[in-house]
């Protein structure tokens, strides 16, 4: 669909009559048909295999909205959210430390990333879950005095906290690298201009560099979030009642192992699909200023399609509210 918002100037001597629309013989694409047939055959084989197995879809249907499963899905989401908040927050801090002129800070950050990225997250969750075996009490106090607060590790480190520590601290190491890449991607001239205006380092980071780094940071962070959604299943080792733990709990009684795994998978898939949609809109939000006009969202495209379908808009009035107009590369400059 091509639209012109304004008619181009007509050079003298040319006519305004629109030539006949092009009607060419379309190119044939035989391989598209061949691949479609192949895909159908494979799909048929897979469906047939499942249909002739002793898989009970009714069991899947019976458990998919089971209260325990629903609650577990909520725990999974909740755990994902908290672990990501910890990961992103600590990750930003670590990235800024890593790039700080303070050598001690940079070194501490390096060491953290080295350690937490170098050990498996399952091992880390397991470590926090069992820390009470070496530290029965945790205390905070002023060194060399008797002023302190003490608590039993067992009551302090709940299954959920062990999982949050394991997942969040591990995630921070990965997020630190993502944020660092984002910060480095921002043009040096931006920092320079901000400093020239008298802005302090922390202000420059907060107001100028990080907002621009977002464009680079957000897409991989979306991936990390979706990945985290599935990694939370490892929290089952700390007996957190998330999706994987609960489906296993149920199948331990009824032995419908595959059926319950399918139930859990359906929920994982549904939740990651929702996150994918969120990711799309968040990325679009942070693309502001870096592209001249944003592409329409699927909903805007749908609306435009329907609008077109019902009544073709009059020529030149198709600009739709909510869509930023695309601006030509050089604006006619206004007189002084």
């Amino acid at each position: 669909m091509t639209e012109f918002s304004a008619d181009p100037p007509v050079p003298p001597g040319s006519t305004r009559v629109r030539p006949e629309a092009i009607r060419a013989v379309p190119l044939r694409h035989p391989w598209r048909w061949v691949s479609a047939v192949l895909v159908l055959i494979v799909l048929g084989a897979v469906v047939d295999t499942f249909a002739t197995s002793s898989l009970h879809w009714s069991v899947v249907g019976q458990y998919i909205f089971d209260a325990r499963i629903l609650q577990a899905a909520v725990v999974t989401l909740y755990l994902t959210a908290i672990a990501m908040v910890v990961g992103v927050g600590l990750g930003i801090l670590l990235a800024v430390m890593r790039l700080s002129p303070n050598r001690v800070m940079a070194w501490v950050s390096w060491l953290y990333i080295w350690f937490f990225r170098g050990t498996p997250v399952l091992v880390q969750i397991f470590f926090w879950w069992n820390i009470n075996t070496i530290l029965p009490y945790l205390s905070i106090g002023i060194p060399f005095t008797h002023v302190m607060v003490q608590a039993s590790t067992n009551t302090l480190i709940t299954p959920l906290l062990a999982a949050i520590l394991g997942l969040g601290l591990n995630e921070a190491a990965y997020m630190a690298e993502i944020v660092r890449a984002g910060i480095i991607s921002v043009d040096q001239g931006q920092t320079e201009a901000a400093h020239a205006l008298g802005m302090r380092r922390s202000l420059v980071m907060r107001r100028i560099v990080l907002p621009q780094a977002m464009r680079v940071i957000v897409p991989p962070t979306g991936n990390e979030t979706i990945s985290m959604l599935k990694t939370t299943s490892l929290a089952s080792i700390a007996t957190v009642h998330e999706l994987f733990f609960v489906q296993q709990d149920i199948s331990n009684f009824n032995y419908r192992i595959i059926e319950l795994v399918i139930v859990a998978s359906v929920w994982y898939l549904a939740m990651s699909s929702v996150l994918t949609v969120f990711q799309y809109y968040i990325e679009r939000h942070f693309a502001r200023g870096s592209v001249r006009g944003l592409p329409p969202t699927p909903i805007q495209r749908l609306r435009r399609m329907l609008f077109q379908f019902h009544a073709a808009p009059p020529f030149g009035s198709a600009a739709e509210p909510g869509v930023e107009p695309w601006l030509p590369p050089t604006m006619p400059h206004s007189g002084m």
Binding site: H195, P211, R288, H333
Partner: protein, 254 residues
Amino acid sequence: MATPMVRAEAVHKNFGRNEVLRGIDIEVAPREVMCIIGPSGSGKSTFLRCINHLEKIDAGRLWVDGELVGYREHGGRLHELPDREVCHKRSEIGMVFQGFNLFPHMTALENVIEAPIKVKKEAAAVATERGRALLDRVGLGDRLDAHPRQLSGGQQQRVAIARALAMQPKLMLFDEPTSALDPELVGDVLNVMRDLAHEGMTMIVVTHEMGFAREVGDSLVFMDSGVIVEAGNPRDVIGNPQEQRTKDFLSKVL
């Protein structure tokens, strides 16, 4: 005589073993417009960046408005200024870059009011009022909500000038403000700068616009490989250069 706005005494700067400034002496009076010309790599940008302490000088002394740049003299020794004071001094000096360096995630108006609000702690309403007036003055009163990428180079550079002026600086530094512009956009930017000069702003302008230097500049400095080769009245330096290096350079740019 009034305190010079900028005074440089034997300013030296090296990047590693590369000596970029090798003894710069300069005096810029209040309300003076000084233009700096010179071949690429002669240290013009570096010198401007030293004036607002984006670079540290290695030897010599540099004063802005009677105060040492970046240091305090105390008990016969120089002490580095804390970050807070360096930033405060920078906030009184406006700088305009060859590449504009506008903040792309902010609109023109947001670019202009950011520093007054966040650095000078001005009330948003006051800053916005002045921001609008400044953008209007540089001819962009109708593009307040445009993002930098939606503006032409000339428009972006005028926003950048408004952004620097919003801090109400006592000195403006321009580093080749028109070098990245298409020829037909240069005029708008130079007009803004000419007005600013007529209003009495103290300006140091690195430029290759000889017409501007001759017409607006009170003094002209020709720099080559880190030293000042020739300085004086722009008409004299351009019309009747004394040094061979100046003659060679001028024959190339004129």
